[in-house]
């Protein structure tokens, strides 16, 4: 048991234990400062790690939110896409049965290009205007006998049918006399109607029933010297129906001839046309009726 002659092991252990246990030593302040600094550093590292995790979670949530918004937006856009597809399918419909020139017809090289000689927004003199108007209106006159009128002193009147002058004179008492062209659209079917009978408003046969309307074609300048030619395609309406709003001006930029216009017309023809048809008996009759009656009286 004893390893040496002088010591018992237990005495040695007890001597060290009693000498060193429960004793205190002064601690230098630098140790405490280092402890605090190290503890703060470790806490900062933990906070940074937690911050990184939170950033990752936030980024993940943001990505999920963006994805959800993307799909929601995609679902809300899908009805418009359906409208486009409907327009694309109806574009394959047969040509205009009335033979009136449309924007779609202007695609073919055989047909005269109404807009070919008139750059967008171009201002021309009266003399040049006559030639441009002749060139632009001629196909429409041949096809659907539209009324294209201008101011009484305009040379444009020479190219118009006689009923256009009558229409211009008859509309002097109306509110639109100051406007250059107020002659309403006259349908070929209306001419063929027997006297005394009134054409009831009916649904349009097709959205292709477009004729040239001169209502807003001549935009006279304030000085009266120049005029801007803005031919407008109007949907062909039956007599007595409320005049339709112009679908699209030809002076508007066109990328594909007639394509954009037809895409825009298609939902319009399905919804607004029918609405006007149903509301037509309730609305006040436009000047077209008076012109028609005057024409009949003149006849």
């Amino acid at each position: 048991m004893n390893t040496t002659n002088n010591f018992d092991d237990n005495e040695l252990d007890e001597a060290f234990r009693s000498a060193l246990d429960d004793r205190r030593m002064p601690v230098p302040p630098a140790v405490w400062a280092n402890v605090r600094a190290t503890a703060l550093e470790k806490q900062l590292i933990k906070t940074r790690i937690l911050n990184n995790w939170l950033r990752g979670a936030t980024a993940l949530l943001a990505a999920c939110l963006a994805l959800a918004l993307y799909f929601l937006g995609k679902q809300s856009v899908s009805p418009a896409t359906d409208g486009k597809s409907m327009a694309a399918t109806t574009k394959q419909q047969p040509a205009n049965p009335t033979g009136a020139p449309t924007n779609a017809d202007s695609d073919s090289p055989d047909k005269p290009q109404i807009r070919a000689g008139l750059p967008l927004g171009m201002t021309v003199d009266r003399g040049q205007l006559t030639a441009i108007e002749k060139r632009a209106v001629q196909p429409a006159q041949e096809a659907a006998s539209p009324t294209l009128t201008g101011r009484p002193d305009s040379k444009l009147a020479e190219t118009l049918p006689a009923q256009a002058d009558e229409a211009a004179e008859s509309s002097n008492d109306s509110e639109r006399t100051a406007e250059p062209a107020l002659a309403p659209t006259k349908n070929r079917a209306e001419d063929e109607m027997p006297e005394g009978s009134e054409m009831l408003p009916t649904a349009p046969e097709s959205e292709n029933n477009l004729i040239i309307n001169s209502q807003s074609e001549l935009m006279h300048q304030p000085d009266g010297s120049n005029a801007t030619y803005q031919p407008v395609l109007m949907p062909q309406t039956p007599a007595g129906a409320y005049p339709m709003a112009p679908i699209r001006s030809l002076n508007e930029p066109q990328t594909g001839a007639g394509q954009l216009q037809r895409t825009a017309v298609q939902p319009y023809s399905w919804s607004v046309f029918r609405m006007f048809d149903y509301l037509a008996p309730l609305l006040p009759k436009p000047a077209t009726k008076r012109v028609h009656k005057k024409n009949k009286a003149g006849n």
Partner: protein, 186 residues
């Protein structure tokens, strides 16, 4: 007002109260520095052990359930840090170092009271610090921590026989030095 109860103090530290941790440090650091000095080679290493030990205390204070004394818990944390430090730096060395000390036969045995009365605290601490790391670790764990040889062997990753041998060699070295000091003093 700082809590005097160890459990409340530990709870305050776990809640992140820096003032409570300051109080805990200043209450137990002087005692723990002695513990660290026993396991360390010198004073600087003791300070490093104390710093690392109290950082570990700060990190693990929430695990203190109040079953035992807070001082004992802190001491165990400090000892575990010292063990980790030993395994990091000294485990590969001096485990089989032979004892070169020569013992002298003396007819007059020394008692513990005589030793502590004649040898200063710092000298006794220095004697322990001058042991080789393996001897110092086994001596500290067996004498001061009350561990058995199989526990020491498990903690240090050595065999139980090596633990017993290292303890015997540490005792012999300490006896030699104490004897020398006692004879020098007498």
């Amino acid at each position: 007002m700082f809590p005097d109860n160890d459990k409340q103090l530990a709870m305050s530290c776990a809640e992140g109260d820096s003032a409570a941790f300051d109080r805990l440090y200043h209450r137990y650091a002087p005692k723990m520095l002695v513990v660290c000095s026993r396991y360390a080679r010198d004073r600087d290493e003791a300070h490093d052990l104390l710093q690392e030990g109290f950082i570990r205390v700060f990190e693990q204070i929430h695990t203190f359930k109040g079953a035992g004394s807070l001082e004992g818990w802190i001491r165990r944390v400090i000892v575990s840090v010292a063990l980790a430090n030993y395994q990091r730096h000294h485990a590969e060395r001096s485990q089989t170092k032979s004892l070169s000390a020569e013992f002298t036969d003396d007819d007059q045995p020394f008692r513990a009271e005589e030793i502590t009365a004649q040898i200063a605290f710092d000298d006794m601490l220095r004697m322990i610090q001058q042991l080789t790391p393996a001897y110092r670790m086994v001596f500290n764990l067996y004498v001061f921590e009350g561990m058995k040889h199989h526990e020491i062997a498990e903690q240090l990753g050595i065999s139980e026989g090596t633990s017993k041998s290292n303890l015997a060699q540490a005792r012999r070295i300490l006896q030699e030095r104490i004897t020398k000091v006692m004879f020098d003093l007498s």
